[in-house]
Symmetry: C2
Subunit: 238 residues, 2 copies
DNA sequence: GAGTGGTCTAGACCACATC
DNA sequence: ATGTGGTCTAGACCACTCT
């Protein structure tokens, strides 16, 4: 069942993308759109709010609703799972070397990060991520086995993300990320051919399922030259 | 005039941050909260939607509303103007040294970034940002003078952000940021007491007004030890 | 069946911008 | 004065989860 406001949203978005509503022109008023779509003004507002949050339109009290841009979004969550740590164009060719894939008892510190009990079993995974056959990312991943059941070596070798979404049919809800710059550790020095004068970009990620369980805590260290983290921040309305 | 849903939002957020509503516990139902705050359930929903979008809570139909995390983000737009490059607690004491404040003709590359014509006049600003009287951020800012009119030395010394929002009464709508790690340049080496073996964190920001004009392109270089960039990515429902 | 959140309505009133 | 969007209400109905 698709909500009515989503239908209104999609219809108006299509018209903006097709430039039927041109940039800098004013959209019909809320009441007019409500009449066209046979719904209440509040339902129209909900649809337009979504377009505002995506940066397509601007609403001004006393003036009207105006088209701001007509191009699709490029910052969506489909680029999750540390893929945002690599430049986008070359992600297709990513391969992995699995350095570690073990089940361990969870330490106290990690239990706090994963929101589980100390001693609960977890996967401990270390992978080198290769892009164009060159080591570019070192990834340390911890996941509770009670949340991600039945993970096997082949999934770790290929794509854990694919296993979670397509085979376990779990839904990723959100991710909290923190970005830093730090010195490489011994493993990174080896794979990245670095020494103590070099540095790496670090992304620490906590990822949630829609059940609000944390399914992953990970640290990804990248070669700075290839590292880029991009995001768009939209001003809260009110 | 502050909307009621913002008051409800702030009140509930405070209780989450203060852990009065603890992580993993269920919040009162929408009706209960509506009763407490003497408002309608829809107003409560609006407040809770905002908390969902910030990753504090998760709402599950048929189950209830649950606290997911209790720490604030450092990348919300209220802390815009590169302040997110510094840890939040110490931002209050920020001072500036203005190294450069000039009006120039815009180069071709910069014209592309600012979406203006080459040769248009721009402000070219360089500032050292001090926190606890220590140089921690070097900030290079370019702004079109046709967008930000009448900028004076005192504004650059104090807060450009304040001048734009409070004196010009312009509204910042969004910002696109990219984070990197790079080697310091000569100025940064000098102010940060660094050499060629050190590195800095870099935030490149393009900021938009609600008129959809770009008012700023800036590069901020920070000492890694104090640098942290945090954000939460939320999966869209539809 | 009972309890929860999600959607939707019609109408009222307020805040803001323009004429 | 008029027209615009923003907020808020009370109530209805639907979808989902658990017992």
């Amino acid at each position: 069942m698709i909500p009515k406001y989503m239908e209104v949203y999609s219809s108006i978005k299509d018209k903006i993308v097709d430039q039927e509503y041109a940039i800098n022109t004013m959209l019909p008023t809320g009441e007019e759109l409500a009449s066209v779509y046979n719904c209440s003004v509040l339902t129209v507002k909900k649809a337009l709010d979504k377009l505002v949050s995506e940066g397509f339109i601007v609403r001004k009290r006393g003036l009207g609703t105006f088209v701001k841009r007509s191009e699709g979004n490029k910052a969506d969550i489909s680029s999750l799972k540390n893929i945002h740590t690599a430049k986008r164009e070359i992600v297709r060719d990513m391969k992995s070397i699995v350095l570690k894939f073990e089940i361990e008892k969870c330490s106290e510190e990690l239990a706090e990060q994963l929101n589980i009990e100390p001693g609960d079993f977890i996967y401990n995974i270390e992978r080198v991520r290769l892009i164009e056959d060159e080591p570019r990312i070192l990834e340390y991943t911890w996941m509770p086995i009670n949340v991600i059941k039945g993970l096997q070596a082949k999934h770790v070798q290929e794509s854990i993300y694919y296993y979670i979404t397509k085979e376990l049919h779990l839904t990723i809800q959100s991710a909290h990320v923190a970005v830093h710059a730090v010195r490489p550790n011994e493993i990174e020095k080896q794979y990245f051919h670095m020494d103590d004068n070099d540095f790496v970009a670090e992304v620490i990620q906590t990822a949630y399922l829609d059940s609000s369980e944390i399914f992953e805590y990970s640290i990804a260290r990248s070669i700075p030259k290839y590292f880029e983290f991009e995001t768009t921040i939209i001003q809260e309305l009110y």
